[in-house]
């Protein structure tokens, strides 16, 4: 139940200490925030997350899905932000009412990377770190034991939600529910018989899970024991130093250069 989005593997990222990976993901977030108004300066961060994605061994299918969704998002952000900055900078393209300027494009891509880079980085973190180690890492970072474990539980319920939606949709389709016909509002209305049973099922599962956890002494001790603890190696030190040099360099470039 608590498998989360972890994908079993033996990739470079799987072998890194979770603390090193978490620090890396936070550096990606910081660099993306710093470079959010200049897509050019955020581009190296994006490339680094793509490299991380390919080194995480999560499978081409999932990576392709993430990149495809990111491209759709890029189109939307470009339209929105380029439109907002249409009056500034040199016009590059004019499509009817929409004028894309160089400033608009830089801001749009910066905002795009602000959202996409951290998502990709945390996807790499969560897919290559066992939930057990995520909880351990959060505790090491000073998060109370109960909160750390609750976070892992919440995260781990995501695949269950997807499974429940799929199951209930299949059952309702067998009963004659047609979700792909009609106007948008009609389709939304037709999702009610899917959403209600899914929520009901999830509430029931969460309730049962809370009983199980209460019976297994969850939260009884202020500090939980972890029998298996990752070991920090030289490779983690090198990875952390390289990451810090690279992302702090990007932050400095974005803010002061």
């Amino acid at each position: 139940m608590l498998s989360g989005i972890y994908v079993e593997g033996r990739s470079v990222f799987h072998s890194l200490d979770p603390r090193a990976k978490l620090l890396w993901a936070l550096l990606v977030l910081a660099a993306s925030i710093a470079a959010q108004f200049n897509g050019l300066k955020s581009l190296p961060v994006f490339i680094s997350t793509l490299i991380a994605l390919s080194l995480s061994g999560i499978g081409a299918g999932l990576a392709a899905l993430l990149i495809f969704n990111a491209s759709v998002f890029l189109l939307v952000t470009t339209l929105v932000w380029a439109g907002m900055y249409a009056g500034q900078g040199t016009p590059l393209i004019t499509l009817g009412f929409l004028r894309v300027t160089d400033v608009g494009l830089l801001v749009a891509s910066g905002k795009f990377f602000l959202i996409v880079n951290p998502i990709l980085a945390f996807v790499v973190f969560f897919t290559t770190t066992k939930p057990y180690y995520i909880s351990w890492t959060l505790e090491k970072a000073g998060v109370p034991s109960k909160l750390a474990f609750s976070f892992v539980i919440a995260l781990s319920l995501l695949p269950g939600v997807i499974r429940a939606v799929r199951d209930v949709t299949d059952v309702q389709k067998l009963r004659g529910l047609s979700l792909d016909k009609g106007s948008i509002f009609e389709r939304l209305r037709k999702h009610v018989p899917v959403i209600v049973p899914v929520i009901s099922r999830l509430l029931s599962d969460v309730w049962d899970l809370s009983m199980v956890l209460a019976s297994r002494c969850f939260g009884v001790s202020r500090r939980r024991t972890y029998v298996e603890e990752p070991r920090w190696t030289r490779r983690d030190t090198i990875f952390t130093l390289v990451s810090m040099a690279f992302y702090l360099g990007v932050i400095a470039w974005a803010l002061w250069l």
Binding site: M1, K130, Y132
Partner: protein
């Protein structure tokens, strides 16, 4: 049998929002090493009784509970469920919800880890339970790849690493197939016979219950209506049936014969029936 492990006096309980009492004046005593099987139709209060014994109602599940409940030396209604941590193990119906981690080892280690025990102690407990239940080959498997019955075994093993004094089983086989049911019932039998654990189980498999249980308690409409050894309870066939419990097949046959005029004692086990019929082999 040893001293009293579970003592319930005049227990009344209801959940928030329910008007009627779910448990009505239940009195119960279970001695150390004893196995009690709770029987009764759905909604009779078996699960609620187990929730009170585990300290979940009213401490985790909101509700009203009156009376006195002592489990493993803890006054549950005064001390709360945290005081029972490590002393009482609970196994529920649904194996899917109970197996929560990525490996069987993690699953078995979870409760002692939550108790904050030293690493060596946690490891020793996991290894000892795995050895006792012959689960060594499972230790590094992903529980999600196991069958329902195997998951339920892991769930039971997961509570045994707490070294509980009392084990509460809430219909642990109700969601399992025939093979899974056999796996789980054999394990419970082993726990009772080899380890002398105090066990209170809500279970419908009557033929199994009469073989393993020291005592059987029948519940109806929130009250404990019949209690005694399996022979004492199930020899009262008509009464047991009236409370919505199916007696063992041999008892039903013997009872029908008795009603037809045959003069015989009501057996509850197949072996007793064989003996009555003069052996067979």
């Amino acid at each position: 049998m040893g001293s009293v492990a579970v003592a319930v006096r005049n227990l009344w309980a209801k959940y928030v929002g329910s008007e009627d009492w779910v448990l009505r004046g239940v009195n119960l005593e279970v001695r150390e090493g004893e196995m009690l099987v709770l029987m009764g139709p759905s909604g009779c209060g078996k699960s609620t009784l187990l929730k009170v014994l585990a300290g979940l109602l009213p401490w985790v599940i909101p509700g009203t509970v009156e009376g006195t409940v002592h489990v493993a030396g803890v006054d549950v209604l005064k001390a709360g469920y945290r005081e029972l941590a490590g002393k009482v193990g609970v196994v529920y119906q649904n194996p899917e919800v109970q197996v929560v981690t990525r490996s069987v080892f993690e699953e078995l280690a979870m409760a002692p880890e939550n108790l904050g025990l030293p690493k060596e102690e946690v490891r020793a407990r996991v290894e000892s339970v795995a050895k006792a239940l012959r689960l060594e080959d499972y230790l590094f498997k992903d529980p999600q790849s196991l069958s329902g019955g195997e998951k339920q075994l892991i769930a039971i093993a997961g509570v045994l690493t707490m070294k509980p004094k009392v084990l509460l089983l809430d219909e642990p086989t109700s969601m399992l197939d025939h093979f899974g049911t056999k796996l789980v019932l054999d394990l419970i039998t082993q726990l009772k016979r080899e380890y002398g654990l105090t066990i209170i189980a809500a279970e419908h498999r009557v033929e199994w219950a009469v073989e393993v249980a020291d005592r059987v308690a029948v519940m109806s409409d929130g009250a404990l209506v019949l209690e005694g050894t399996p022979s004492e309870v199930f020899s009262r066939v008509e009464e047991v049936q009236r409370y919505g419990v199916r007696p063992p097949g041999v008892s039903e046959v013997a009872y029908s014969l008795a009603r037809m005029g045959f003069n015989l004692k009501i057996p509850v086990r197949l072996s007793e029936m064989e003996e009555m019929l003069g052996g067979g082999r």
